[in-house]
Symmetry: C2
Subunit: 485 residues, 2 copies
């Protein structure tokens, strides 16, 4: 950029502020444990500290960073704190931040191959790498009939899977004439809410999404799925889509893919598999069992932005038949026509998702994989799982607590034996203390605490401290409820 011109930040200023920002971020990670993990801000607090109107005149960068410190930080829930155990993680790492910075600097649009060939080819390449590294079925590789794409979230890619399934089932007539109301989709009662949302968005309707019951491990019952399908067929409806989950959000339940897959194949139903967080575990051979039966799947999605040290957003979506996906989502107006596209020799990723525009997200994923190497990634995944297993053993050895579900990987569902009220108190007191952050779910209608261990910098000491604090708050809550009697 040219030096000092009207209103623009000069290169010199950018160098100075940029380096200060890099230091600010490193300092942030150094002091991250000093903040309450869950922001203690009150509704409206941040807005109240901001001027009512946009500034007419430019302000200094220092004044902006001052506001970041005093106004923004108190309103931040620290997802990158090693004491963050809520939801699923959304972790990152330094190499990923650098990849995002580079992507913002280049700021290219990867909608077409031609609009930045490297943006497309690096993405295809790294997603092919991951097919190998995760031991995914070969059919998801771009060298076969399938391929992978980076989307923003599993919500979006599951929607795309459902759309491609819808079109395959109707010979592409739904795109043309709209939905006809006979299509029926299936997922388990424990599936992520995004599947219901996808059914709504795609014009299928949530009444046409069957929530198949689960077994004692919160895994879909294949015989219940088969029965539901038979019932629908008998009623003249058209089963077209099943979404199975590898690691449900509530409890990390693992749907049995071999049995579900066999049913889908018999009925020619599109099988989509959602491995949003847990999919990353398959980097380690000893956890590849979660993918047993994935060879039946038509599509698969998992999020490096959850548990693979790559900052949000970075979702990987694979299809076995890329033509079905492209045929579903392709639109080619004149202003996007170009030689490379017409040649058929390239991938134009705008036909692989809802959006047209797209960032160069492969850079950060490439940086992360290259920085850690597969052995480094495996090291950390194993460490997280080890910590979670340790935590689960403490829970099961404590007579006040119980495990609420199996903990196959890094999520531990547990509860105090004292009932819903005490568990609610424990959670609320812990989160208000700022020492750690965990969230809840309901399993068999009972309040259940979730401890998910996957933050980049979580160490044994953080998990030990969390367990100590949980027991402390349990004891305090017990005393409170006794004195209230």
């Amino acid at each position: 950029m040219p030096e000092k011109t009207d209103y623009r930040m000069t290169a010199e200023e950018f160098r100075r502020h940029g380096k200060a920002m890099v230091d600010w971020i490193a300092d942030y990670y150094a002091r991250i444990e000093s903040f309450p993990v869950l922001s203690q801000a009150k509704p409206g607090q941040i807005r109240a500290a901001l001027p009512k109107s946009a500034p007419e005149h430019g302000e200094t960068f220092d004044s902006m960073m001052k506001d970041v410190e005093s106004v923004i930080l108190p309103g931040v829930t620290h997802w990158q704190s090693p004491n963050f155990f809520a939801y699923f993680p959304s972790n990152t790492s330094y190499p990923s931040i650098l990849g995002e910075l580079l992507s913002a600097g280049l700021d290219v649009q990867g909608m077409l191959w031609a609009t930045s060939p490297a943006c497309t080819e690096l993405e295809t390449h790294v997603l092919d790498w991951l097919v190998e590294s995760l031991a995914l079925p070969e059919k998801f590789k771009s060298s076969s009939a399938g391929g992978g794409v980076i989307q923003d979230t599993a919500s979006s890619s599951s929607l795309c899977a459902l759309l491609a399934a819808r079109e395959r089932a109707t010979a592409y007539a739904s795109n043309e004439n709209g939905c006809d109301g006979r299509l029926v989709a299936y997922t388990s009662s424990q599936a992520h809410s995004s599947i219901e949302k996808a059914a709504m968005v795609a014009g299928i309707g949530r009444a046409n999404l069957r929530l198949v019951p689960v077994d004692e491990k919160f895994a879909m019952r294949p015989e219940a799925l088969a029965a539901a399908i038979q019932q629908d067929i008998a009623a003249g409806r058209v089963p077209f889509f099943v979404c199975a989950t590898l690691g449900t959000t509530s409890s990390n339940g693992m749907d049995p893919l071999p049995a579900i897959g066999a049913i889908c194949r018999e009925q020619s139903i599109w099988l989509h598999v959602d491995g949003a967080m847990s999919g990353t575990a398959a980097l380690c051979p000893e956890f590849c069992w979660i993918q047993d039966g994935l060879e039946f799947a038509d599509s698969y999605t998992f999020n490096p932005h959850k548990w693979m040290f790559t900052n949000f957003d970075c979702n990987c979506f694979y299809v076995a038949d890329r033509k079905a996906l492209i045929h579903t989502l392709s639109i080619l107006p004149e202003y996007l026509r170009n030689q490379a596209t017409e040649s058929g020799a390239v991938i134009d990723y705008r036909d692989w998702h809802i959006q047209l525009g797209r960032r160069f997200r492969a850079l950060k994923l490439w940086f992360v994989i290259r920085h850690y190497g597969l052995e480094g990634l495996r090291f950390h995944i194993r460490r997280h799982i080890e910590l979670a297993q340790k935590f689960a053993s403490w829970v099961s050895e404590d007579s006040d607590f119980e495990l609420a579900a199996p903990a196959p990987l890094n999520l531990v569902c547990f509860r105090h034996r004292g009932g819903d009220g005490i568990n609610e108190t424990i959670m609320s007191r812990l989160n208000k203390s700022g020492d750690l952050y965990l969230t809840h779910t309901k399993l068999r209608d009972r309040m259940t605490l979730r401890m998910c261990i996957g933050q980049t910098n979580t160490e044994l000491r953080h998990v030990e401290q969390a367990w100590k604090r949980i027991r402390e708050e349990a004891n305090a809550a017990k005393k409170l409820s006794q004195s209230a009697r």
Copy 2:
């Protein structure tokens, strides 16, 4: 982050590599004019230079940056080059890059207010600022019944508008039972392809999207719209959605909102307005006329990531009735329940779009507005429009060329009078030369060149040079075709 631990990048290394990356980016902008604007890479070239498998062992950051230089850069089309005149711009600026870096550093998930109150409140606040700064209707402010949200692209927010319209028209029965095939949508024949895609995705079907004819200025004919609606009603169909465009992609055509709005109001049809690029012009009072009639709109979308110096992705989406949008897209599983949400006192943005997860995108927009100030933003918008008007005058004064459409703002559609062939040759030779990048469209079935001026660093000299090069290639092409006779 802890110092030196297994496989992780240390804080010390991050500081070093991060500062080097900041310098790399500043250096990149200093040498950006030395690259061919349109990448000259051949299909497969980038992939051929990459190892077949992911590395087992970690690599140095220096080796990664070496590959960025030698493998990635030749595959980059330089959207930030001041010689980029293709499509619509997707511009950025140094303050925006710093905002993106900060966002990547904090890496919070803003799906719920509680998961980072600042992420939600800053977004609401800055979008309220823009209602004022752009002189948008008051009803789009969060203090009224409406409000704004940052989405990734106009494709996504137009889809959300269409979904909310679908639900309002069917009393929320489509979400429940699926589409019933009677709904009909309308947009002009010049509208962005994303509207057709939205109709497909939402289960409406593209056969139920009427492409209303345009007038000599490529603006929708309101009387044709009214007639199409009457015809559909007479046939028992249900008109539910009209998308009007402020600044079509092909030619910057401006649909007449007052007339279209009156029709929509009379028929209770949801009016969505797409101002993707041109919307930014309304920062300047003298260009606010493009928004005449916007008070009729139920929703509005424009992209700061196109022409407001904020890097992709940053789309602003406004609705007049936020409840309609939220009711359409809301899903509340147990694991996302929390006190703040139940209190009703906060916004949970995950109910405002398709995705669940979301980045802290308001930071970069806030940085850009504060750095430039409104006067700085206006200065650059005016400059771009001035340059485009200058370019248009050169075209119209040259007897070899003609303007192919009015140029109300910063897009000039023009052609050589020698026919489609010579225009194709001119474009292809220019883009192959690497000196500049422009793209084409078809207007009244004739090949038309598009010169869109909106890159952050484009100056008069770049536009002058572009016009010189266009005439050179035109003369060369003329000679070629003469000698071929």
